[in-house]
Symmetry: C2
Subunit: 140 residues, 2 copies
DNA sequence: ATACTAAATTAAAATCATTATAAATAAAAC
DNA sequence: GTTTTATTTATAATGATTTTAATTTAGTAT
């Protein structure tokens, strides 16, 4: 099942003349099977025989290709997710956990921003910050 | 004029038993007079006789006190702004410049997020990414 | 199948923003 | 003015990420 998803991504790589290496497949599988928003280090723990350098190189590459999104929020380290359908994020202030939630697209705000600032708008991000339920429980 | 704003912030410090040091006043003045979203390094260029360590210490402190907001977007370094009235940000993909714009508060989304994720919500951020007008001009 | 070549991987060192440490200084209270 | 304790500072440490340069390998051509 996870392998299916990984295989779907291969054409994206081939289209751009990139080589299909075991490491690239492992990195994609790692992100898919963790189902969350892993850091480079998380991925490395999952596939320890692939060097951290390679993981960083390919994460950067996949972001540039549009396969992944980079989420630079939180404690000065990035998390990564598949660039699937639009959604937003809730981030826990305590533990840094990121949870997805759906909400109608806020592209109206993009139009206003464009008019007010003369930027050529590409996309937006929306993050809600709070305390997740497990961290709420831990408060005495 | 800038000094007036700085002076308004002094009671915030005194209330919490913090000392009014020349360095703290300089840091606040630097942020106010740059009128933008300076990095720690920007501030240090502006007041080079205050050590970078002190600047980092106080930025962190001011964020904890609620006087400043930290904006961790962009190329792995933080920018800072006065925590004034609510607004949103447009960020240039090319040069990293941040520009403010106003839009009605999106707190409706917070309610939805809370219901869907069981987080205790504290606040939200919204950023629009694009290309600023100067960077648009530079494209041939 | 085999050899070739450019692309990819890797270990090691470098970089950059930020934080910790510990000694020197100075703000505020007496 | 003296004292106390917070603050500043230089220095070193940290941790995530990037660079470098040598080795390996995917994909193509033979």
């Amino acid at each position: 099942m996870d392998e299916t998803k990984t295989m779907e991504l291969i054409p994206h790589l081939k289209e751009r003349g990139l080589r299909i290496t075991p490491q690239r497949l492992l990195i994609l599988e790692a992100i898919i099977s963790q189902e969350g928003h892993p850091t480079a280090e998380d991925i490395h723990q999952y596939i320890p025989y692939t060097s951290l350098t390679t993981i960083y190189n390919n994460l950067k590459l996949f972001v540039k290709l549009g396969i992944l999104n980079e989420l630079p929020y939180g404690n000065g380290l990035s998390k990564y997710e598949l660039n699937h359908s639009k959604h937003y994020h809730v981030i826990c202030q305590e533990c840094g956990k990121i949870v997805d939630f759906n909400y109608p697209n806020l592209k109206e705000v993009e139009h206003v921003a464009s008019e007010l600032t003369n930027f050529h708008i590409l996309y937006h991000q929306f993050e809600v910050y709070g305390i997740c339920s497990s961290c709420q429980d831990e408060e005495s």
